[in-house]
Structure formats: C-alpha cells, structure tokens
C-alpha cells in the first residue's frame, strides 16, 4: 500500500501515524509537506495527522484546509482515494468541506487527554471492516476542540445513511449525539477525534486502533 502523511507546520502526530501505517502495512508512507501541490503517483491512502496546524489560528484546521496540498487531497478524495483524518486531521477535513459539520471547543472547556470508550457504529466502511458493529473499543483522545456540531438535519442525514463510524460510549466533549468519527457520503473519507495510531500494540496499552489500519490495508490491496 502506497500511503502519504500530510505534514503541516504544527502537526505533531504525523510521525505516530507514519509508524502505525508502516508497522501494519510494511511500507513507510511518504511524508508530504503542506506546500506540495501533488500527491505521489499511485497514492492509495492519504492520512491527515493530529496536532495544532498553524497554531490553531483563526479556527482549528482552518488555515491548513486552505493550504496548497489540500487541493490535491480533495481531488484524490473525489476520485475515491481513502483519506483518514485524525484529531486535527478531522478538523482540517471539515474545514476543507470534505466532511460535514464542525468541531468546536469542548463543552467542558478542558483539554481532554485520556483513553475513552468508543462504540463502533458502522462496521461496513473500508476503515471499520475489521470491527464488529456495536463493538466497544478503547482509543485515546487528546483534544481541545472535539465537540462535533452540525444542524439537526445534517445529523439526521449522516445517522440515517450509516455514516457515524464511531460514537463515544462515555461523556467526553459534548459532541452532538456523541459522534466521535464520521465518513463522507462515498465512504472513502473518515474523520475521527480519537487517535487509533496511539493504540496499535501492547506497548501502547492496547491494540484497538490497529484493526483500522489492517482493515484499510485489506480494503485497498
């Protein structure tokens, strides 16, 4: 699998994501600086990492979403290339309009940094096919702006279309309908606040995130 991890100034989970992808797929991703205007030929997974791109200036993910590389990412997403956005990556994907809704300041105003329980809602997507629907997993979160918001009509639509990939199984950040991760209509773009790349082996305290990368590898191969 040929993957690319996008790197913005202020990204800080890009290496974690690269390590997880390499460990599961056996191939190191290309690290792609935000000023690039094209993806490497034949890229079949794009990962948008967590962190604080552009220092969260204006709004989390707002500046990164307008950087040159994101036009190439949007085009690839339109062609059906899988795009995984984690944490700040999720914020970037919503700001870029690749996913609906927005991520606002956590309801409790605190930065939340701990493992949380999630329910896998949809086990049919290319990202979640290794999980069982309803499966309870533990993945860490580390964010200040994870409070997912959209209007009621949009929420009804994404729920009705089975596009909620993960839900918090406990109170975390005030997210609408406890949404932790969603996919786009075509099913090839996933944004999630929890960090699956931080849960891929016993040295991380668990491997519940590993199946996401394994599932992707299987879906793409």
């Amino acid at each position: 699998m040929k993957s690319a991890v996008i790197v913005f100034p202020g990204s800080n989970c890009d290496r974690d994501l690269a390590v997880a992808i390499e460990e599961v797929t056996g191939r190191a991703p290309t690290m792609l600086w935000h000023r690039e205007t094209a993806l490497p030929e034949g890229t079949d997974l794009i990962a948008v990492p967590g962190g604080f791109s552009y220092g969260d200036y204006l709004r989390s993910g707002a500046m990164a979403a307008r950087s040159p590389v994101m036009q190439a990412v949007a085009k690839a997403a339109e062609r059906g290339v899988p795009v995984l956005g984690v944490c700040n990556g999720f914020q970037v994907l919503t700001e870029a309009g690749l996913l609906p809704g927005a991520l606002m300041r956590n309801a409790g105003l605190n930065f939340v940094c701990r493992p949380v329980a999630l329910t896998v809602e949809n086990s049919q997507s290319i990202f979640t096919n290794r999980y069982d629907a309803g499966e309870l997993i533990t993945i860490p979160v580390a964010h200040h702006d994870g409070n997912y918001t959209a209007d009621a009509e949009t929420l009804d639509r994404i729920e009705g279309e089975g596009r909620v990939a993960f839900r918090y199984a406990e109170a975390v950040n005030g997210s609408a309908r406890n949404i932790a991760g969603i996919v786009n209509q075509a099913g090839n773009v996933l944004g999630m606040m929890p960090h699956p790349e931080r849960m891929i082996g016993p040295e991380h305290g668990g491997a519940d995130g590993r199946k996401l990368f394994e599932g992707l590898l299987e879906a793409v191969a």
């Binding site: 700001e95 956590n106 105003l109 918001t149 005030g174």
Partner: protein
C-alpha cells in the same frame, strides 16, 4: 481603508466559552447578565479597490465557518 468584520456563532449553536464567561461575570458579582455570546473581531486594512463582493468572499472562504458562524461586514 479599514473594514471591520464581526464573526459570531449562529443562533442555536451552543457556546461553551460564552457560558463560562457568563459564569465568571456572575462570580465577580455582576448581576443581571442574561446571556453571553463570544465571537471574533477582525480588522482588515485594504486598498479602496477591494469590493464588497471581495470582502464577502473573504468571509465565506476563510474568515467565518458558515456551518457554525455568521459574519457582519462594516466597511470603513
């Protein structure tokens, strides 16, 4: 030329920061505060040739996230 842009949360969008500010005001002993909503104020210094449509486009494309925010432009 200076234009002022106010970015505010849409009605119905919860504003946890506004709520916290409200509580803090009450904690300081200010009574009678009914609701606090916070937002952003952006000042843009620009050439006279920048049109209203340009300023609108700036708001829609970057300065406001229209999923959750409204904007108001006060041309200088």
């Amino acid at each position: 030329m200076k234009t002022r842009i106010y970015v505010t949360l849409k009605n119905g969008v919860l504003d946890p920061q506004g709520k916290a500010i409200h509580h803090a005001l009450e904690g300081l002993g200010f009574s009678g505060v009914e609701e606090v909503r916070q937002g952003k104020f952006i000042e843009i210094e620009h050439a006279d040739g920048v049109t209203d449509a340009d300023l609108e486009a700036m708001c829609r494309k970057l300065l406001a996230n229209t999923v959750i925010e409204n904007y108001r432009i006060e041309r200088g």
